[in-house]
C-alpha cells in the first residue's frame, strides 16, 4: 500500500530542534510531502505555522508509539527526523498511529492532515499545536 517513489526535493524544516520552544509565529514549516509519505502523499506543500515546536516529551511519546505500531527492532534507529515511509509504514499503520496519538493526547486530527506529516518531528509539532489550540479553547 505504500508507494515507493522518488523524492528529489525535500525542504528541511526551518526549526527541527525539539528543545526549542515558543517559536515566533512567523516561522513556517514547509514540507513537500510528495514522494515521502505513505499512501498518496499530498503534493501540496503542507504548511504548519509552528507557533510552538514540540516538547521533547512529546517527541519521545511519538517515537514510542511509532516503535510499537511498526514493531521496530531495538536496533532500528528512530529519530525526530526519521521519515515514516523509511520505516515501511503503510497507510493502515499511519492511521493506527494517528488514532493512538489522538487517544494519547486527547486531540482530533483531521484526515486531510493525517498524511501531511512525514517525520516524527512533524507529527510531534502538529500534536503540540493541536494540544495548544485545545487548551486555548479552540477546536
Amino acid at each position: 500500500m505504500a508507494s515507493v517513489s522518488a523524492t528529489c526535493l525535500r525542504f528541511q524544516p526551518l526549526c527541527s530542534q525539539s528543545n526549542k520552544t515558543n517559536q515566533a509565529a512567523g516561522l513556517k514549516l514547509v514540507s513537500v510531502g510528495w514522494g515521502k509519505s505513505t499512501g498518496f502523499p499530498s503534493l501540496t506543500a503542507s504548511r504548519f505555522r509552528v507557533s510552538c515546536a514540540a516538547k521533547p516529551e512529546t517527541v519521545e511519546k511519538v517515537i514510542n508509539i511509532v516503535r510499537k505500531q511498526l514493531a521496530l527492532t531495538p536496533e532500528t534507529v528512530l529519530t525526530n527526523e526519521t521519515e515514516f515511509v523509511e520505516l515501511g509504514a503503510d497507510s493502515l499503520d499511519t492511521v493506527e498511529i494517528v488514532m493512538t496519538l489522538e487517544e494519547e493526547f486527547d486531540i482530533n486530527v483531521e484526515e486531510e492532515n493525517s498524511q501531511n506529516v512525514s517525520t516524527v518531528q512533524e507529527v510531534a509539532d502538529m500534536i503540540e499545536e493541536l494540544v495548544q489550540k485545545k487548551a486555548a479553547g479552540g477546536s
Partner: protein, 321 residues
C-alpha cells in the same frame, strides 16, 4: 551502510550486467484486470537484485537506499522493479520498451501514473496501474482505459487499536454496525481487514487516497446475489456477491461507476481491486471482473496462478482466466 548495500556495491564492481530479455505481454482487454505479484522472500540472489537496481531512476535508487534496513530496501527495490518490468512488457505499439526508459509522474493527490508521450503528444497512456505491498507480498494491478486501485493485506494482520473504536473513528455508520454485529473477535478482525482493503482499493482507484477521500464519507457493502436476483450459474466459485459503494457525499452516478473484486491471494493475503465499470452497463448487473493473476520473478519466470487454489474469490463478481 547496511550490509545489503555493501554486498551490492561489491558485486557491481565485478559484474557486467546484461539483463535477460523481458518477454512481451498482450495488453489486457478493456474488461480485463491483470495482477502481477512478487514475494520478497523468494529473492535471495544478490546478482539478480543488482540487475534490478540498474533499472531504477537515480531518484528511485536514492529512495531505496534511504529505507532503514535490508528488508525494507529489498522491498522498495522490488516494488519499483515490479512496476517497471511489468509495464515495459506490455506491448504498446508492438514492442517491449526498456524498463529504464519509463517515466512516472503523480497526480495532484500523489497517485503514481505512467508518463507517456504518444506520437501526437496528446494521448495519455492507455495503461493504468496501481501497486500495494505488505512485508511479504508486492502486487501490481494493470488495466487498460480504466483507473485501478489495488490493496493487499496479510490475512493475519493484527490491529493494535480496538477494532470497533477504530471503525467508529474512521468508518461509516453502516460499516460500524456491520462489524459490531460480529461476535467472534477473530472473524471480526478478518472482516475489518477485508473492509479496509476494499476501502483502500476504492480511494486508490479514485486517485485520491485516504487523505482526500476520508473513509467515513462512503460505505462499502457486500450484497448477496439473491438480493440482486440474477443468475449465478456462471459464478459458482465466488458465492456470487456484489460489492457496492455508496456515499452521501457523492451522487449515485459517481459511485455506480465502480466494481470490486475481493479474493484471497497465495493463501496468505486478502487482495481487493477496484476498477471502473464498462461504460455500456446500466444500473443493472455489470460484467464480472475478468481476472488473471501471475506470480513473477522479473527476468526469470512467471507463473499464472489464477484458477488455482492460490486465488480464492471472496466477494464481488470475479471470473478467472
Amino acid at each position: 551502510m547496511s550490509s545489503f548495500v555493501q554486498k551490492m556495491r561489491s558485486f557491481q564492481r565485478n559484474f557486467s550486467v546484461s539483463p535477460f530479455p523481458l518477454l512481451p505481454l498482450q495488453l489486457p482487454s478493456p474488461l480485463e484486470t491483470h495482477v502481477w505479484f512478487v514475494m520478497p522472500d523468494e529473492f535471495k540472489s544478490v546478482s539478480l537484485l543488482n540487475q534490478y537496481m540498474e533499472l531504477l531512476s537515480p531518484c528511485e535508487k536514492e529512495n531505496v537506499l534511504s529505507m532503514r534496513g535490508d528488508q525494507l530496501q529489498k522491498r522498495a527495490l522490488l516494488a519499483r522493479t515490479l512496476v517497471r518490468t511489468t509495464i515495459a512488457r506490455y506491448q504498446i505499439n508492438n514492442h517491449v520498451v526498456d524498463p529504464r526508459s519509463l517515466k512516472f509522474k503523480r497526480n495532484v493527490h500523489g497517485k503514481p501514473q505512467l508518463e507517456w508521450e504518444s506520437d501526437d503528444g496528446q494521448c495519455p497512456s492507455p495503461l493504468h496501474f496501481n501497486i500495494s505491498h505488505t512485508s511479504s507480498l508486492i502486487a501490481c494491478g494493470v488495466t487498460v482505459n480504466s483507473p485501478i486501485g489495488i490493496d493487499v493485506e496479510e490475512k493475519q494482520r493484527k490491529i493494535k487499536n480496538d477494532i470497533l473504536a477504530f471503525a467508529r473513528r474512521y468508518f461509516s455508520l453502516h460499516e460500524v454496525e456491520h462489524l459490531s454485529a460480529i461476535s467472534d473477535s477473530e472473524v471480526q478482525r478478518q472482516e475489518f481487514v477485508k473492509l479496509w482493503t476494499l476501502k483502500e482499493a476504492y480511494v486508490k482507484a479514485l486517485g485520491r487516497g485516504f487523505s482526500a477521500a476520508p473513509f467515513k464519507t462512503f460505505t462499502i457493502r457486500i450484497k448477496n446475489a439473491t438480493e440482486r436476483g440474477f443468475d449465478c450459474s456462471d459464478y459458482l466459485e465466488s458465492g456470487a456477491s456484489e460489492v457496492v459503494v455508496e456515499s452521501s457525499d457523492h451522487p449515485v452516478s459517481l459511485t455506480n461507476n465502480w466494481k470490486f473484486g475481493l479474493f484471497e491471494l497465495a493463501s496468505s493475503h486478502y487482495a481487493a481491486i477496484c476498477t471502473e465499470k464498462e461504460k455500456t452497463s446500466d444500473d443493472g448487473m455489470s460484467a464480472p471482473m475478468r481476472l488473471t493473476v501471475w506470480k513473477t520473478i522479473p527476468f526469470v519466470e512467471d507463473e499464472c496462478i489464477s484458477g488455482t487454489e492460490a486465488v480464492v474469490p471472496i466477494a464481488g463478481l470475479i471470473k478467472q482466466f
